[in-house]
């Protein structure tokens, strides 16, 4: 009987070096130029919002009736409104409201939705049936009318606008996360962890939640833009933030349209600010989805 010596296979390729943070950013800009443009817009918006006090040339609340409807000039780059307030300063301070409402409403709505989605998928049975029906009811309720009604109940204040915008987000996210959690739950490793005697909270928190994080993140970035837009729409309809708060939607409501012919800058610039902000979040969210969703990656 001959004896064969055992040989271990050795890998010929070496592992690729881990990229530094700067290299990762460079790779993202190169692979997703539109996403990078979106990220740049978001960054600019954040800087303006945080440094509004230092950057804004005038006080956004103080008007000067002698300067009503002043055309864009070197003194007032984007002109003044019907109260003689500087439009540029109001837009800069408006970024704070837009970001605050956008972030808090979408984080609150998406997190609650994700929690309900995971619970619904993991518990199944009656809990799932009940939660699904509640989500059905909220989903078939027209979004803007629901926000309109909630805003009417709570009154015009920033925190109420957040609640009015967050609630309609909940069922949309719950649906998506529930579907993702259902497929994660069926994986063999989850079964193995359960067989090893892991408690329910441990299975949910350690094994299901991290695996539904990608759809959660995609929904979050997608909802950020629409939350900013919803705030503008509610303020435009007179149910969002109230005067004299510098909010982009509010700047376009009422007088802006009626003075549009006389002073078009009042109507044009806040609209550009809203569009650019939402555009930035949507571009970034879109590229993030392309990057995180294996089905959309280039083959």
């Amino acid at each position: 009987m001959s004896v064969y010596p055992l040989e271990h296979a050795t890998a010929s390729a070496t592992l690729r070096r881990r990229l530094t943070a700067v290299e990762e950013v460079g790779k993202f800009i190169h692979a997703k130029p539109l996403g990078a443009a979106g990220a740049a817009v978001i960054l600019a918006m954040l800087i303006v919002a945080f440094l509004a006090r230092a950057l804004a040339p005038y006080d956004p609340y103080t008007g000067d009736y002698e300067l009503q409807f002043a055309r864009p000039s070197l003194d007032h780059w984007l002109g003044t409104d019907e109260f003689g307030r500087d439009v540029l300063s109001r837009i800069m301070y408006g970024a704070r409201i837009a970001l605050f409402v956008g972030f808090t409403a979408s984080v609150a709505g998406c997190s609650l939705g994700a929690l309900l989605g995971v619970l619904s998928a993991y518990w199944g049975g009656r809990v799932d049936l009940l939660l699904e029906r509640v989500m059905d009811i909220l989903l078939s309720f027209p979004q803007l009318i629901l926000a309109l009604a909630i805003a009417s109940i709570l009154g015009p204040a920033v925190q109420n606008v957040v609640i009015a915008i967050a609630i309609p987000i909940v069922p949309r996210v719950a649906r998506v996360v529930r579907a993702a959690a259902m497929s994660v739950k069926e994986n063999v490793y989850v079964e193995a962890v359960r067989a090893l005697g892991a408690s329910r909270p441990r299975v949910v928190l350690q094994h299901i939640v991290p695996n539904v994080f990608a759809p959660y993140l995609i929904m979050l970035t997608a909802q950020l833009g629409s939350a900013i837009l919803a705030e503008a729409s509610l303020s435009y309809l007179g149910l969002g933030t109230a005067e004299p708060t510098p909010s982009w939607g509010l700047m376009l409501s009422g007088s802006a349209a009626s003075y549009a012919e006389k002073a078009p800058w009042i109507a044009i610039f806040p609209g550009i600010a809203i569009s650019l902000g939402v555009f930035g979040f949507n571009l970034f969210g879109d590229s993030l989805r392309d990057a995180l969703d294996p089905k959309l990656r280039r083959g």
Binding site: R133, F141, I145, A149, L229, A260, E261, A267, G271, S275
Partner: protein, 320 residues
């Protein structure tokens, strides 16, 4: 298929009952009293409490809430949407005045957006990560980013400044004067249609991208089929299901979503009617409209699911 249909129809009942209860509760929780508004009490003038009680009794608002809810539900079961507390006319009558305008706006916007979005979405998917894809994505993401009320304001501003045109105060139905109707509707349609087209283009692009990665598409390439045949005959057909869902649900919600556009263009449609009704605390009108929109949404969802089963044999076989 029959048991699937029965199950789906049964599930509609609790959803609609839930919507009806939710809108009823919300309207009762909103501060403000329609009787007080009718008597002009919101302007701070003194109101005789007896007079207020009489109006409340006349409107049936003195009844316990559970009775009011019962009366409303009983009416719904008999296809009676109630009477507007503000105008005193049946809600159906009020709706029929405004529905043709909103429906025309919704149908035209849907048609325009479908005609634009499907070819654009296809083009972007086939040319992924090229300049064509980038342009289509920027234009479609722009459609989602630009507030429709702002587009409306800009369109009106442009027309007023350059053509001296202002939005007409009265709606001309298409059967009375099609040309005048088109002139009135074209701008609101473009405003609504752009947003709608943006949503559909994005959906067409992403679902087509998913389908183009499937094995059977690779097989089709390997068989030597032309790109046109692969994209249109093999991929597009299978990518259409989520797009149809989106078109359906967007349409169902369009009526409620027209609120802002109708306000900008001073169109007396259903959307503006809802906003006014919420402001006037006109409970029967808001309740009826929300219920009808929810009913439309549930119905469209059901139709979409049935179309799915019809289009995709796998779903039919699962149900057997």
């Amino acid at each position: 298929m029959a048991s699937y249909l029965a199950k789906r129809l049964l599930l509609i009942v609790p959803t609609l009952l839930g919507v009806a209860s939710l809108v009823f509760v919300i309207m009762r929780v909103i501060p403000g009293d329609v009787a007080l508004l009718i008597l002009g009490g919101d302007q701070g003038s003194h109101i005789d409490p007896q007079q207020l009680a009489a109006v409340r009794q006349q409107l049936g608002l003195d009844q316990p809430l559970i009775v009011q809810f019962g009366v409303w539900m009983w009416g719904l079961l008999h296809f009676d949407l109630g009477t507007s507390l503000w105008t005193g006319r049946p809600v159906v009558e009020e709706l029929l005045i405004r529905l043709p305008l909103s429906l025309e706006l919704a149908v035209l916007a849907t048609m325009i957006s479908v005609l634009i979005s499907i070819p654009l979405g296809m083009l972007a998917a086939v040319r992924q990560d090229t300049w064509v894809d980038y342009v289509v994505r920027v234009v479609s993401i722009g459609g989602l980013a630009v507030p429709s009320f702002w587009v409306g304001i800009l369109v009106i501003l442009f027309l007023v400044l350059f053509f001296g045109w202002g939005p007409p105060l009265l709606f001309t139905p298409p059967w009375e004067d099609p040309w005048a109707n088109l002139q009135q509707m074209i701008w609101p349609v473009v405003t609504v249609g752009y947003r709608y087209a943006a949503v559909t283009t994005r959906m067409t692009r992403s679902t087509l991208l998913e389908v183009l990665r499937e094995d059977y598409i690779r097989t089709a390439w390997a068989k030597g089929l032309a790109q046109k045949a692969i994209v249109i005959r093999h991929a597009l057909k299978n990518a259409m299901l989520p797009v149809i869902t989106l078109i359906g649900t967007e349409f169902a919600f369009l009526i409620g979503g027209l609120v802002v556009t109708e306000t900008v263009f001073t169109l007396n449609g259903v959307g503006r009617f809802v906003v006014d009704a919420v402001a006037h605390r006109d409970y029967p009108v808001v309740q009826a409209l929300v219920f009808l929109i929810a009913f439309g949404f549930v119905l469209v969802n059901l139709l979409v699911d049935l179309t799915y089963a019809w289009f995709d044999p796998r779903i039919r076989y699962q149900e057997r």
